[in-house]
């Protein structure tokens, strides 16, 4: 049964290559293939979670046991993100029909396959390969919106991402050079003697900065505002919501398993704080919705980096809660931004044209700010209690920055909310008011419903997240699962 887990990676990959050909043969059939694959993927992953297999497990690919062969590592965290990938792929599926459809759908399938692979991979080399695949797919997708601004934004993203990849590869090379393996479980065993030195630290920093390009880490996130403002909002939602979190996942695994140097997390803490400050403050003056959301997303990911920087895995629960929360909220908000692009001033009175969209905007904003009892509050609560418990000045600065930036966040989000509910100009006819499209609004409503459901079931959800984060923070379990025979597995 556990072998099924490769299907959510392989099927979309296969689909991505076959889709253009299939569509030429039969458009009707081709259009169904993509969503069908993703639905099947969701089903497989869901059944793995519910009784399909004992979690966590490791699956050696090609019959060679790790560390020689490559393996997939499936724990609740990996499964959760893999599932989220397939589900979001489905929700943000590019239904639009035009000449570019085959290419766009194929790229989307490729993106989903690579992202799922990224979530499940158990060794650094595979992670890198999937990470590159994600990059390639996103280049294509961003450029596919085919406006001049989108091309310019893509070029910048391309260059940054390219250099980031080189840097990541450099870090991986250093690790291989020191440890002689790229299997994460094996690395976890070797790390204390081989990588607990300044070379190991520089390897981590190289990977952090390299991967940070996608995780919107300050200061390598300058592509974010332009790309999100020009790419389609469905794609922006996918990038801001999911891809950034997957990049974060790589760093999380490395921190839990391999790198335990205090300098490593300090760097991350400082960059996280700078990300929060710069993102939230820049959003304050943003003049259009998508840029505002992009900056806010930088700020939110900065918060996740701060949470990740809490030593000894104390922040994992906060990381997980914040990441999932941001995934839902930002996806929903970007969906609303679909019809609300352009200058913010244009949104005046938009609540009249689409009351549901305005209400959803208020709901998402409230949760983003951390208004209890919405889930955002609990995510932030776990973060600030952990930060306060660190009792070191740098973490307290992080706490202060976090709290102050929330005030700024509330101010700019509710400025927009007030604008939405303000009466429109007298000469504006109701049908001229901007409104999100039906599909986008439906998707956003789904996220809104999810958010409300999470509010109601916050107790079981919290327990679940505690369990997931406990499992993902357990390095010994990881080692034991991947290579059960090796003595000293429980480091």
């Amino acid at each position: 049964m556990s072998g099924m887990i490769v299907l959510p990676i392989v099927l979309p990959l296969l689909g991505a290559f076959l889709l253009p050909v299939l569509m030429r043969a039969s458009l009707g059939l081709g259009l169904w293939i993509g969503p069908a694959i993703l639905v099947y993927g969701c089903w497989i992953l869901g059944s793995q979670w519910y009784g399909g297999a004992t979690l966590p497990f490791s699956l050696a690919i090609g019959g060679f046991a790790p560390p020689l062969g490559i393996n997939l590592y499936v724990d609740q965290l990996a499964l959760l993100f893999a599932f989220a990938t397939q589900l979001l792929g489905l929700l943000f599926w590019p239904f639009k029909l035009d000449a570019e459809t085959p290419r766009r759908q194929a790229l989307m399938l490729l993106l989903v396959a690579a992202s799922t692979g990224l979530a499940l991979s158990g060794d650094l080399f595979n992670l890198y390969v999937f990470y590159e695949l994600v990059a390639v797919a996103t280049f294509g997708l961003v450029a596919a919106s085919a406006t001049g601004a989108a091309y310019a934004a893509t070029i910048r993203y391309l260059i940054l991402s390219g250099i980031g990849s080189v840097l990541t590869l450099l870090g991986i090379t250093l690790i291989y050079n020191q440890a002689g393996t790229l299997n994460l479980a094996h690395l976890a065993q070797l790390a204390p003697e081989r990588l607990d030195n300044s070379l190991g630290l520089s390897a981590f920093l190289a990977i952090l900065i390299g991967v940070g390009v996608k995780a919107e880490l300050f200061p390598v996130n300058t592509w974010v505002p332009e790309v999100y403002a020009t790419a389609g909002s469905r794609l922006s939602a996918f990038l801001a919501g999911l891809v950034s979190k997957l990049a974060m996942l790589i760093i999380l695994r490395l921190l839990v398993l391999v790198f335990h140097q205090p300098e490593a997390i300090q760097v991350m803490l400082v960059l996280g704080i700078l990300g929060v400050v710069s993102g939230e403050l820049a959003a304050w003056r943003a003049k259009d919705m998508r840029r505002m959301l992009a900056f806010s997303s930088i700020g939110q990911l900065g918060m996740i980096f701060i949470a990740l920087a809490i030593p000894d895995g104390g922040g994992l629960l906060a990381v997980l809660a914040l990441a999932l929360h941001h995934l839902v909220i930002k996806s929903g908000l970007f969906m609303l931004a679909d019809g609300w692009g352009g200058s913010l001033e244009r949104l005046r009175g938009a609540a009249k044209a689409s009351p549901l969209a305005a209400a959803l905007f208020v709901l998402f904003s409230l949760s983003l700010i951390g208004m209890p009892p919405l889930p955002g509050f609990w995510a932030k609560f776990t973060l600030i209690t952990e930060l306060a418990a660190q009792n070191s000045p740098l973490y307290l600065i992080g706490l202060t920055v976090f709290l102050l930036s929330t005030v700024v966040e509330a101010a700019y989000l509710f400025r927009v909310a007030a604008l939405l509910y303000r009466p429109a100009d007298a000469e504006t006819r109701p049908e001229q008011l901007p409104r999100p499209g039906g599909l986008a609004l439906t998707t956003a409503s789904l996220f809104g419903a999810g958010l409300l459901a999470a509010t109601l079931f916050v107790t079981p959800l919290g327990d679940l997240l505690i369990h997931v984060s406990g499992q993902s923070g357990n390095a010994a379990l990881y080692i034991d699962t991947v290579s059960p025979g090796i003595p000293g597995g429980s480091r």
Binding site: L170, F381, A388, T406, V407
Partner: protein
């Protein structure tokens, strides 16, 4: 699961919200919610034992989330505040039914939203008052903040601007509290009150200082404590009439409730007194007292400069909050009782005043103090309500405001704090001057021609106003009635309780019996009336029948000016009005703007590629060498 009477009360409040939400567009919606507020009041009466020292009532509901237990309970303090909340909502909602709501709808107001916002405010306040641990307190706090925002923002235009300002302040306050909660959680290991009580005892001063500042400032925002007060007056004043009566009566007192709960009950005045300010003779408690006094003085004198009746009242609302805090910081039996009693008294007269002013707006269409005058004959009952209200506000006998202020003054003198006493007297002076401006410019002086046909406010509005007036007088005559509840509330937070009689308090350092005071006062009135009526016949003339120097004055000649009131006084003290706080607020805003510009510049111009390449080169260099 057995529902306790607290659960029933919360269910009633929830039902009120639901009714407002679902049936709020019906014609009789106003009456329906009003009746439901009445039901809530009955639910509260069912717990009346709490007002007389009864044991706390627990809610049957509690949640466990992420290792935290959330629970709700009602004690004497909660009951006292809940009584004011529901009472204010009931009378405010009653006032809005009938003619006011028809006029409101004609002017394009959203009545459904109004009722919904009111009901949400009451529900969230009850949840806040019922909080049984610090986390549920914070949840209630945030709910109250956002419900208040809804009510303030609903009028649109300038009101929305004011509400935005409010929510920014409120968020800043909430985040201070949130930070404080995180710190407490770390040192106490739990957010339950008992755990915090023991943790505070072994806390070092730095830690406690930080907590006092964070919680004091956070809760102080809602109370409008200096220097966090700027948002309050415009936000309350621009809320639709009955809404501003409700907000003015109780909303900012939620801040006081939270301060009492956390600073007084959990931290303890004794522990706060332990916190000395270096290089000075004062401690944190004195600091709080002085903040309270400045909160009395400055907003009161700002009120004096207002030319809009609603703004004038709203500024007083901030100032009166200072008396409450002052009494409770002094924290002896008389001071604590005075501070808490003032919460009740202030709610009664402030609601009455806002209602009276709203009645004037309803009839004349303006609350601009320079465009009114002489309405006393046209709207005599509204005049009476306003008169009784301002006597209460100024703290003069025979109304209830006198009792609470007397208790606060007495305690300041008893505890040997003459400077604070003097300062609060200055505040009272400003109050008297400004409320005179209020009543003079609306009801006394020259009637305007355009108001010649103005009628008295409709009965739907008058009845709640008159009920409030009666309460103001009766609780002034028999302050023992509310003082019993106050005593129960004081007991709940562990403050000393005074010796209460029906007419006031019994104390070795000075007693007060209002029945005697009022008896003597009315005796004096009787003598005055005898002289007045024995002076012979007087002739009634029309209000516009005026003469000066033997010449008839036509009605359009303004012979009496309300503009630039207190010109002489302003000549003396005008220089003190500098808008320093506005300047401070603007400074913070500009700083954020500037930083924001800078950060955007970083994102627009920074070449991250360059950083990346540099880092790459460094790493390669590191590896090679």
């Amino acid at each position: 699961m057995m529902l306790s009477s607290l659960d029933e009360l919360l269910i009633y409040a929830g039902v009120t919200v639901l009714v407002a939400l679902l049936l709020g567009r019906r014609t009789a919606a106003g009456w329906m919610v009003t009746i439901l507020y009445g039901v809530q009041l009955l639910g509260l009466v069912k717990m009346a034992a709490l007002g007389y020292g009864g044991a706390a009532v627990d809610s049957a509901v509690s949640f466990d989330v992420l290792g935290q237990t959330l629970s709700w309970r009602f004690d004497g303090l909660s009951w006292f505040f809940a009584l004011i909340t529901i009472g204010a909502a009931l009378l405010g909602s009653w006032y809005s039914c009938g003619e006011w709501e028809r006029a409101f709808r004609r002017q394009g107001g959203n009545l459904w939203l109004f009722h919904l916002a009111m009901a949400l405010n009451v529900l969230s306040m009850l949840i806040l008052l019922a909080s049984g641990d610090l986390l549920s307190l914070f949840i209630g706090w945030e709910l109250v903040s956002w419900a208040g925002f809804l009510l303030m923002a609903m009028a649109g235009g300038a009101a929305t601007q004011a509400a935005m300002r409010y929510i920014t302040y409120a968020m800043a306050g909430a985040m201070a509290i949130f930070g404080g909660i995180a710190l407490i959680y770390v040192s106490a290991g739990s957010l339950q009150y008992d755990a915090i009580l023991t943790a505070v005892e072994r806390m070092d001063t730095t830690h406690l200082w930080m907590l006092v500042i964070l919680f004091g400032a956070g809760f102080g925002v809602k109370m409008g404590l200096l220097p966090l007060h700027l948002w309050q007056a415009p936000a309350y004043a621009l809320t639709p009439g009955p809404g501003s009566a409700f907000l003015g009566a109780i909303s900012s007192r939620m801040g006081l409730f939270a301060i009492l709960l956390v600073l007084v009950k959990l931290f303890g005045i004794i522990n706060i007194e332990r916190l000395k300010i270096p290089f000075t003779l004062i401690d944190a408690r004195d600091l709080l007292a002085w903040i309270a006094v400045f909160t009395i003085i400055l907003p009161t004198f700002t009120a004096m400069k207002q030319n809009d009746a609603r703004h004038l009242l709203a500024w007083h609302g901030i100032g009166q909050g200072g008396y409450m805090l002052l009494g409770l910081v002094v924290a002896d039996a008389l001071g604590g009782a005075g501070g808490l009693l003032h919460v009740f008294n202030h709610a009664t007269y402030q609601a009455a005043l806002f209602m009276s002013v709203t009645a004037v707006i309803h009839r004349t269409g303006t609350s601009d103090l320079n465009k009114l005058g002489g309405l006393v004959v046209r709207m005599p009952l509204s005049f009476l309500v306003l008169l009784v209200g301002i006597i209460g506000l100024a703290g003069l006998p025979p109304m209830n405001g006198f009792v609470s202020k007397w208790l606060v003054y007495r305690s300041l003198l008893n505890q040997g704090m003459p400077l604070l006493f003097l300062a609060s007297i200055i505040g009272t002076l400003g109050t008297i001057l400004s409320v005179y401006k209020l009543i003079h410019n609306i009801f006394l002086g020259q009637l305007r021609v355009e108001h010649e046909e103005v009628k008295e406010a409709p009965w739907s509005m008058l009845i709640p106003m008159l009920i409030l007036t009666a309460i103001i007088f009766v609780t002034g005559l028999f302050p023992g009635i509310p003082l019993a509840w106050v005593a129960s509330a004081l007991q709940a937070i562990g403050l000393p309780v005074p010796d209460i009689t029906l007419g006031g308090v019994q104390s070795p350092s000075g007693s007060l019996d209002m029945i005697w005071v009022i008896g003597v006062l009315f005796g004096g009135f009787g003598v005055g009336a005898l002289i007045f009526y024995s002076a012979g016949r007087s002739k009634r003339v029309h209000q516009l029948d005026n003469y000066a120097g033997g010449h008839f004055l036509t009605a359009d000649v303004r012979y009496q000016y309300s503009d630039n009131f207190y010109a002489g006084l302003m000549h003396l003290i005008g220089g003190w009005y500098r808008g320093s706080f506005l300047w401070l607020e603007q400074g913070v805003k500009s700083l954020v703007e500037f930083l924001s510009l800078f950060m955007q510049g970083i994102y627009r111009r920074a070449n991250a590629e360059f950083y990346l390449l540099t880092v790459t080169l460094f790493v390669i260099a590191w590896v090679v060498f």
